[in-house]
Amino acid sequence: MEFENLKSKNKENLIIKKGFVINPQTQEKFEADILILDGKISKISKDITHNNADSVREINAEGLYVCPGFVDMHVHLREPGNEEEEDVESGVRSALRGGITSIACMPNTMPVLDSCYLIEYIKIKAREINYNIYPVAAITKNLQGEVLNEIGLLINSGAVAFSDDGRGVQNARLMYEAMRYGGQFKALFILHEEDGNFSDGGLVNEGYYSAMLGLEGISSLSEDLMVQRDIMLSKVSGARIHITHISSAKSVELIARAKAEGVNITCDTTCEHLFFNDSVLTGYDTNYKIKPPIRSEYDRLAIIEGLRNGTIDAIASDHAPHLLLEKNISFKEASFGSIGLETLFKASLTKLFYEEKLSLEKIISLISLNPAKILNIEGGEIKVGSIANIAIIDINNENIYESDNIISRSKNSSFIGQRLNGEIRYTIVNGKIGFSNN
């Protein structure tokens, strides 16, 4: 397993031989070679021969799938402020390990990403290591839910979207004004839906298991009410909204209805919510303590159905690194969140391809093309002329996921101990091999 020096400026030309290319845009799979020159895809066809053998590095992709690099639209990098949990560089290595070539990072850092210089800081960091990071700015100052941020200026500085992730804007009027104003700039709002009156003090899904385990519940009403509110606000304001990490059956239903009515809405779910139900909580393992909580099997099946029928547009990791001492304590005291960059593809493949029989093209769309489109960024496609962001994957591999395998600085993964399918063989970012694993 190898990571390239992220800061090196060396460019090399690449040729990927004999892989199966997946193009989510056309939902096609075909065998072809791909030639990458100067960081861009210059040719896709069978049996490409090249003259200058020395200057082109060859990748043998026989038996492997060549996909657009994955796009994770919900990541917590923890920099600035909590670098002991993760920083930009360690987070990027973790993303590379997961075949991810572009990430959107959330603003709940210390200080909060609510000013132009911090957005620029992240962009500079990303450029230094030749990686695609799209910072999401806070909707309200310091995520306090009280004062609206400088949406216009932040967009100019490079904010890809706006989110008060971690809590959500509780004040409906403020959210409404944010949407109305954001509309002037065609801003995208990534909404964490949680009604604090329902969730405060809660630890896990309110239901059969919370009752049994004596753990305070968080009713799915906490999410559903806010989803409904924001659909209404979007309808009136016309703002472009994306509901992140949806967890409940009712939310899926509400969003499906809103889409049918033409509301400008998209949504994602996380690997945890499509993979687990709340029966996993019986051992009080704090790695399953996430927000929104892992819900019932009924909800999980609705999430799967939403992915299948297109109601849910994307899968994100909600990569949330935490120190061991924030997880190796009682369930009540433990922090919410699981890391997920490295398992985004594997968990999706395991559950959706092998169990639920969704097509590989569909799954790749959910973690590349669709999030790229939602964020309105480059990516999600393999076509001549575009920048080479590529993940080369092996779908036949199968392993128990262990804590020792984790690249991220934090080890709090819900997937530890799970049998997962799939492996990333190469991650190519902006024409450079960032990670290889043979």
């Binding site: 003090g201 298991y209 753990l215 924030e326 009682s330 369930f331």
Partner: protein, 308 residues
């Protein structure tokens, strides 16, 4: 080396084991009737009473139980302050481990903490109550009290009344009583019940009057104001009207029915002062003090079991 005998919940015990345990407890109750109430059974054993949450009854009950069996018991009180999350608790566990001890009795205000704790210590751990989750020794002493009174447990009608949502006693009792084939009904207002209580496998009522003249055992829970993080119940007056046991209701109880409460009773909330004051005259019916003395025998038996 045998697996250490943690007693975290009663889930692992079969009906036969529970029955056997009830019989065995008699042998320990006998010691308490002697002039010299002490046997050398656990001489030289060190037991740590680790309470992360204030408690008087359970702590003292375990202390007496250990001393009646000649074990050395050390009280270790600590507040689970989370100034710097995690650190204090991990350090406490390390401290406890480095003291020579044979068994740890532990109480903590967080559900499931005991499971985490038991994984990190090499000696048997006895759960003296974790959050809203389990209180297995209370459930056993409750069962023993009922067993002493009725002998045949099957199909006994028991009503558990009060704050089910926040009660570990209720959770442990419900599981144990169900296991023993008793007919369990819980009585609570909607906000003091979990939204989905199907895991309890019990019947349900909202009002004490629905069960008062039918139950063989009336089990009143303490209104756990200290454990209610979300307070939605309107008032004591409202509680008295629909859920409390007053004299008029006491008189409606079946002739052979008994009244129980895990203590301490909030006089005038779950049970009226009037009813509490007639306990000494109605020992056949009001078993609240019997529960306390039975608790010592049950805990003796449990300590002996855990160390054998």
């Amino acid at each position: 080396m045998d697996k250490k005998k943690d007693i975290l919940s009663l889930d692992e015990f079969s009906v036969e084991q529970i029955n056997e345990f009830l019989i065995q407890t008699e042998s320990f109750a006998e010691i308490l009737k002697r002039d010299i109430k002490k046997v050398p059974a656990l001489r030289g054993k060190t037991i740590i009473n680790l309470f992360f949450e204030p408690s008087t009854r359970t702590k003292v009950s375990f202390e007496i139980a250990a001393k009646r069996l000649s074990a050395d018991l050390i009280n270790f009180n600590t507040s689970s302050s989370s100034l710097r999350k995690g650190e204090s608790e991990i350090d406490t566990i390390k401290t406890i481990n480095s003291m020579e001890n044979d068994l740890i009795i532990i109480r903590h205000s967080d559900s499931g903490y005991i499971n985490y704790f038991a994984k990190n210590v090499p000696v048997p751990v006895v759960n003296a109550g974790d959050g809203k989750h389990e209180h297995p020794t209370q459930a056993l002493l409750d069962l023993y009290t009922i067993y002493k009174n009725f002998t045949n447990l099957k199909d006994l009608k028991i009503a558990i009344i009060g704050d089910i949502l926040n009660s570990r006693v209720a959770r442990s009792d419900i599981k144990l009583f169900n296991k023993m084939g008793m007919d369990v009904k819980v009585v609570a207002p909607s906000m003091l019940m979990p939204e989905d209580f199907s895991s309890f496998k019990t019947k349900f009522a909202n009002n004490i009057d629905e069960v008062i003249s039918d139950a063989d055992v009336l089990y009143m829970l303490r209104m756990q104001f200290e454990r209610q993080e979300r307070k939605f119940y309107p008032s004591i007056k409202e509680y008295n009207k629909f859920l409390s046991l007053d004299m008029a209701r006491f008189n409606l109880m079946k002739k052979d029915a008994i009244l129980m409460h895990p203590g301490p009773v909030n006089r005038g909330i779950e049970i009226s002062g009037e009813v509490m004051d007639i306990e000494t005259l109605n020992k056949d019916k009001i078993k609240i003090n019997a529960q306390i003395s039975n608790g010592v025998a049950v805990r003796m038996a449990l300590l002996y079991y855990a160390l054998s």
